[in-house]
Symmetry: C2
Subunit: 177 residues, 2 copies
């Protein structure tokens, strides 16, 4: 049975540290052991992070805004594990305070951005050319914790193909060379 899910936000504020540890460390971590004082239950944010962290081969991100530190660390972790990460973003938001884009670039992740007047307003991710993650959510802490938002997680060949084509079109169009 193919995965078909929706996450609604705002997300409860939960600790996501265990997700960002190596599997053996995470298994050893008991609830609350990090002493952060936050709940260690599942939340829409932790589910979104799990869906991303399942990547083994490739991750395409097409995001208007990206400033969530947790999601930024998840993407950097995938890059460190050898997943091929490519990011497309909007230049207007990229320059704002708190954007993760500079950190991703410093970590060696490929990022391209638009130059034109219209916004690159997509908010989607494609995991291993198999799962599409898309919705209304910009990847910011403000949106995650405060806004009414939706994110679909769909294992769907046809949608993955169509969104990958859109990603590749934008990737080529934003080629700076």
């Amino acid at each position: 049975r193919l995965r078909r899910e929706v996450l609604f936000f705002p997300s409860q504020v939960t600790c996501t540290e265990a997700l960002l540890k190596a599997p053996d460390e995470a298994a050893a971590a008991l609830p609350n052991c990090c002493g952060c004082g936050l709940p260690h239950s599942e939340s829409s944010l932790s589910r979104l992070m799990r869906a991303l962290l399942a990547a083994r081969v490739s991750l395409e991100l097409c995001l208007f805004a990206f400033s969530s530190p947790q999601l930024g660390r998840a993407v950097q972790l995938l890059h460190q594990r050898g997943v091929r990460v490519r990011v497309v973003t909007d230049c207007d938001y990229m320059a704002l305070n708190g954007s993760q884009i500079g950190l991703l670039r410093k970590a060696g992740i490929q990022v391209r951005h638009d130059q034109d007047l219209g916004y690159m307003h997509h908010k989607f991710a494609i995991v291993d050319r198999r799962v599409l993650i898309t919705g209304s959510l910009n990847w910011t802490t403000q949106a995650i914790q405060n806004n009414r938002e939706n994110v679909l997680i769909m294992e769907d060949n046809e949608y993955v193909r169509l969104f990958l084509e859109e990603f590749e079109r934008i990737w080529e169009e934003f080629n700076p060379t």
Copy 2:
């Protein structure tokens, strides 16, 4: 076979007058007869309008921003035809110039809006409790004509159920009485 489609934007600017006419008038209308000078072909906007105008019983709208005159006319037309239209929107955007929300209210359509700090950032519609329309697109001419956006159109019982539940939660929460 259940409908499963995605519209990408920006949309070509096309004439959508024929869609907003009564069926007999539209059938009589030849291409270009309205003399507007715009192409009369299909576009992402015309496909979105067709999906909405297919409503016969009910239409739920949950929209952060709604200023497109064409989409506003489509929604008013459905209301005139006796479709039960309910609109939820964000109060911050509602007050802006060009918002369709005031016109919808004047036409007698039920509208509710949030009061709190977080944004009501959804952009979805549910047609006849059968088709979910959701994506990154705010219903503004700026977004339709200039932005990179996606809109999924899905005939999917499970997703419709989950999004209807979210709509009803918000509808009750935004009840002013």
